[in-house]
């Protein structure tokens, strides 16, 4: 389905999206607009709809109404999770989710962009360039030393990094990242913020986070969600001085 063209180039565009669960409006006519290469932080109190928004974008939840458009003309509400992932939207869960009984290397191998079919997997063999790519990502997320250990034995912060590495190796256009700094040490948090800033040039990043220090370090546009809609948008300073935001969230 072709939707109406928007003047500014958008990579991801949500318009009037509503979702309700048993009468509870998780998203209430939410609209959001992301430019290619943008780094965007999303904050909001618990129950503001942050995770539901990610569920809608990644095809886990179908919106009751509204548009979700990727790359100007792809209507995401018509695809399922696997298809959306293959279109180029990667997602990191709130709780770090890696495949615990596979090694770090094998986790990255599975995440690597490439054939996803059953029979393709059966006959799959890594090429030299793919191995090289895994090596690069291991380096990037600082897990080279731990390449052959089971992902289940990694520390919480390392699991977060592995999952970020799994997103990167898929080479998605948009990365949706839910609470990346949770359980990380200060040093790891700083490194993560640096990494995201670097990635933002090539990819579009949406980061949901509670940690204000981390958001400050990202130094990007912030969207505040509340009760399933956008309450305020702007720099961290702007939203922090917004009276409505102070009332519902920051000034609790």
């Amino acid at each position: 389905m072709k939707t109406k063209h928007i003047d500014t180039p958008s990579i991801l565009y949500l318009n009037g999206v509503s979702v309700s669960f048993d009468g509870f409006k998780a998203l209430n006519s939410l609209s959001l607009f992301l430019e290619p290469g943008e780094l965007r932080a999303i904050i909001g109190p618990n129950g503001a709809g942050k995770t539901t928004m990610m569920d809608v974008i990644t095809g886990k939840t179908r919106p009751d109404e509204g548009e979700v458009v990727f790359n100007r003309d792809l209507d995401l509400t018509r695809y399922d999770e696997a298809a959306i992932s293959n279109l180029g939207i990667g997602r990191k869960f709130q709780k770090p989710t890696v495949i615990e009984s596979l090694t770090v290397f094998e986790n990255l191998e599975l995440a690597m962009a490439g054939g996803r079919g059953v029979f393709q997997s059966l006959w799959h063999a890594l090429t030299a360039s793919q191995s090289e790519r895994i090596r690069e990502v291991l380096e990037l997320v600082d897990l080279t030393e731990r390449r052959d250990v089971l992902a289940g034995s990694l520390s919480h912060g390392q699991k977060q990094w592995l999952e970020i590495g799994m997103l990167l190796i898929q080479d998605p256009e948009v990365l949706l990242i839910d609470e990346p700094a949770a359980g990380m040490t200060d040093v790891e948090t700083e490194k993560t913020a640096e990494l995201f800033k670097r990635l933002a040039k090539k990819h579009t990043l949406v980061v949901v986070e509670h940690d204000m220090e981390f958001i400050r370090a990202l130094n990007c546009k912030v969207t505040v969600l509340h009760e399933g809609r956008v309450l305020a948008e702007g720099s961290l300073e702007q939203v922090q001085s917004n009276q409505e935001v102070i009332d519902v969230y920051l000034g609790r």
Partner: protein
């Protein structure tokens, strides 16, 4: 490990595979040899009863392998796998029935005894073709395969998982049992199919036929093992583990989880069907009791006792538990079900990795006892670092 190797070497590259296949090869050669070459009364003689019993264990082992493939690697707990085993068995049984010919009690040239008894005038359409061995063998594969494909397609597409899936697989085998009990289904009702005479022109009672069936069962087990190894050692196997450990992660990585489940479920059902087909000529009967839910649950116990997610563990478990069953149902028949239940509880509580997990633990102890200190686990060290307070 170098990446480019002939497939077969890759499949047997680990020590447990080589040990398992070697033991199986020795048993395959020795058991029929000792049965046929050494006369009765000789110390080295293996009775035909034992050959048949061991052949039966091998069929169970293949069935356990099939269950381990889906349960151990993909987390699909099927409590209805006995159904696929029984369907394969029925397909073989139908061939064997047609081979009886005029030698039945009623001497009817075409109809099996039970149909004559029910006053049926002609062979039902679904019995056509079963006088041909190749056709029957095709059905051994197709009937369980197609049923598993349809069932899996509906269940996995609707994302039925966990205990709900287990319950509907149980319902599937129960429904089939009730259906096969009915006389007008045309599969011999309560009594099932029995009184077999020949297979491919050889008497099913003959020692040499028994020996060949034993060898065929061992070969089927070895091939089944290699097929399962090929699956679990490929990237497909790692996707299955991904589905087992973190289904939605795997889905969000772009894998169509339902396709993977469907593939492996169907392969598993076909292996179970082949096991059933080899089982029937050895035990000489197939009846609806094979569909009973308790049978399917027993398979789960074999795999759990042996150790899930290792393949050879399933084989070890099937042989051990069935040996126990043979012994105890003979010596203390009233105790067996209590023992079986107790075994399951003990395994779940104390041996989560089954009997083969014990081997591994013992091996590790002897390895480290040999002088090399255990490698330090850097995970502990990184966990000891302070994490940001309240961030989690």
């Amino acid at each position: 490990m170098p990446k480019r190797q002939p497939l077969i070497f890759k499949l047997v590259s680990d020590r447990s595979s080589r040990i398992f296949l070697s033991v199986l090869a020795v048993v395959t050669v020795l058991v029929p040899l000792c049965n046929l070459v050494f006369p009765e009364g000789s110390a080295l003689h293996v009775s035909t009863y034992t050959v048949t019993l061991l052949g039966k264990y091998l069929c169970y082992a293949l069935l356990a392998l099939a269950v381990d493939l889906i349960w151990g690697y993909c987390g699909i707990l099927s409590l209805g796998h006995g159904a696929f085993f029984a369907l394969g068995g029925y397909a073989m049984g139908m061939y064997l029935m047609r081979q009886i010919g005029e030698r039945g009690v009623y001497g009817h040239p075409v109809l099996p005894d039970f149909m004559v008894f029910l006053n049926w005038q002609e062979l039902p359409w679904f019995w056509y073709g079963f006088d041909s061995f190749p056709f029957a063998m095709l059905m051994v594969i197709l009937v369980p395969g197609i049923l598993a494909f349809l069932f899996g397609w509906l269940a996995f597409r609707s994302r039925v998982t966990g205990v709900y899936l287990s319950i509907i697989t149980q319902a599937l085998t129960y429904a089939l049992m009730l259906a096969f009990f009915r006389n007008d289904m045309g599969f011999g009702g309560n009594n099932g199919l029995t009184d077999f005479k020949d297979i491919l022109g050889y008497s099913v009672q003959a020692d040499s036929t028994r020996a060949v069936l034993f060898i065929m069962s061992a070969v089927a087990l070895a091939l089944g093992y290699l097929i399962c190894q090929a699956i679990v050692k490929s990237k497909l196997g790692r996707v299955l583990v991904g589905v087992r450990d973190a289904e939605s992660r795997t889905r969000f990585l772009g894998y169509r989880v339902e396709h993977y489940k469907l593939f492996v479920f169907t392969v598993s059902a076909v292996l179970a069907g082949i096991a059933g087909a080899l089982y029937v000529p050895q035990v000489g009967i197939i009846n609806p009791g094979e569909f009973s839910p308790i049978n399917s649950i027993e398979i789960i116990i074999w795999v759990a006792v042996g150790g899930r997610g290792t393949l050879y563990g399933a084989v070890v478990g099937a042989v051990l538990v069935n040996y126990g069953k043979t012994y105890f149902t003979g010596a203390f028949p009233e105790l067996w079900l209590f023992l079986l239940g107790g075994l399951f509880v003990v395994t779940t509580l104390y041996l989560p990795k089954g009997v083969v997990g014990l081997f591994d633990r013992w091996k590790k102890q002897t390895d480290t006892g040999a002088g090399s200190p255990p490698p330090p686990d850097p995970a502990d060290e990184s966990q000891a670092r302070p994490t940001k307070a309240g961030a989690a």
